[in-house]
């Protein structure tokens, strides 16, 4: 249980809510006055989705460790690889989730069920 007071928690919600909204609004607001996005900026923006998504995913699949074998033999990495193949093959979010979760559960609980 936290020692945060009711007021402090509301303060966090309000401050972070306003800050997050201003971040979201930033360029959407500013670009309204500019009709043309510079080609240089466009070149950088093109890579934003792949960069951000890869940075969100990778640490969820692998945990750095001096033991390379343990690092590579991660259940999450296997399940993620299977899910990536499904995503590439079908491009379907729901199917990717189902196959990925089933792969993870098979690796986690399968050996126990067999023994």
């Amino acid at each position: 249980m936290s020692e945060y007071t009711v007021l402090a928690i509301w303060g966090v919600i309000l401050a972070l809510g306003i800050a997050t909204y201003l971040i979201r609004l930033s360029f959407i607001h500013l670009f309204g006055r500019i009709n043309q996005v510079p080609a240089r900026v466009k070149l950088f923006l093109k890579f934003v989705p792949a960069a951000v998504l890869a940075a969100l995913v990778a640490p969820q699949l692998v945990t750095p460790s001096p033991d390379v074998a343990a690092m590579v033999l991660d259940e999450r990495l296997f399940a993620g690889a299977v899910a990536a193949v499904v995503a590439w093959w079908r491009g379907d979010i729901l199917l990717t989730i189902i196959v990925g979760m089933l792969a993870l559960w098979t690796l986690q609980f399968g050996p126990e069920l067999l023994l």
Partner: protein, 231 residues
């Protein structure tokens, strides 16, 4: 209902299946940190950013300083600057007030799905309605399932690892987005640096979220450089 709004709402279903476990986990974590029902629901409604919310309640639970909690949330959400800049050219036809409320719904998923739809020239969607179809559906379900998670408490067995659905959603969006060699370079460089940076953040107590920003920035630069090298 408007056809393009409906199309956005329909396209949000896959994302929602990944987000519902996330919202439930957030609700459970908020309960554990001692937040009230109203505070938990308000956090989802006002901040509307899962990763930042989850990290925030974890830091509140750990009694981290007020400034650190807010700063960490801001750092995690700074990636939305990139989304805002990327999607802004598609909203320039709309007035100030329309842009002001559209901005409110700009999340990872709404951004990724909308950009994919806008750049698909075969589909001539009403950009605002498609975006709102996605954004409003995700917002409503996000807020509602947060409340359900809070009320469920810790009833769901942790061994099921339902949180794993979250990276699976990102993966399902990422893979089809990689359509040329420089994009492959970006994804690989960004992914490798994200793992290294996540390790560094945990090891040296750097602000959570900084790893994501650094890795993405390096990945983008790698993509731009490889595009110029490959022509």
């Amino acid at each position: 209902m408007n056809g393009d709004f409906k199309a956005g709402a329909r396209d949000s279903i896959g994302i929602l299946l990944g987000l519902i476990p996330f919202a439930i986990v957030f609700g459970i974590a908020a309960d554990g940190a001692g937040l009230s029902t109203l505070q938990t629901v308000a956090m989802s409604a006002v901040i509307f950013a899962g990763t930042a919310q989850l990290v925030t309640v974890e830091l509140i639970d750990a009694n981290a300083g007020l400034a650190i909690v807010i700063l960490t949330g801001v750092v995690i959400n700074l990636r939305m600057l990139m989304y805002s800049a990327s999607i802004a050219p598609h909203f320039t036809d709309y007035g100030k007030q329309t842009r002001a409320y559209l901005a409110y719904f700009l999340t990872d998923h709404v951004y990724a799905m909308s950009i994919a739809e806008y750049t698909n020239e075969a589909k001539s969607r009403n950009k605002r309605m498609y975006y709102l179809g996605l954004g409003v559906s995700i917002w409503v379900v996000w807020v509602a399932t947060t409340a359900i998670g809070y009320l469920l408490g810790a009833g769901i067995p942790e061994e099921l690892n339902l949180m794993f659905a979250v990276p699976l959603v990102f993966l399902a969006i990422l893979v089809p987005a990689i359509d040329d060699a420089p994009q492959v370079v970006t994804a690989l460089v960004s992914g490798v640096f994200a793992i290294a940076a996540a390790f560094a953040v945990a090891e040296f107590g750097l602000p959570q979220g900084l790893d994501l920003l650094i890795a993405a920035a390096i990945g983008i630069i790698a993509g731009v450089v490889s595009e110029e090298v490959m022509g």
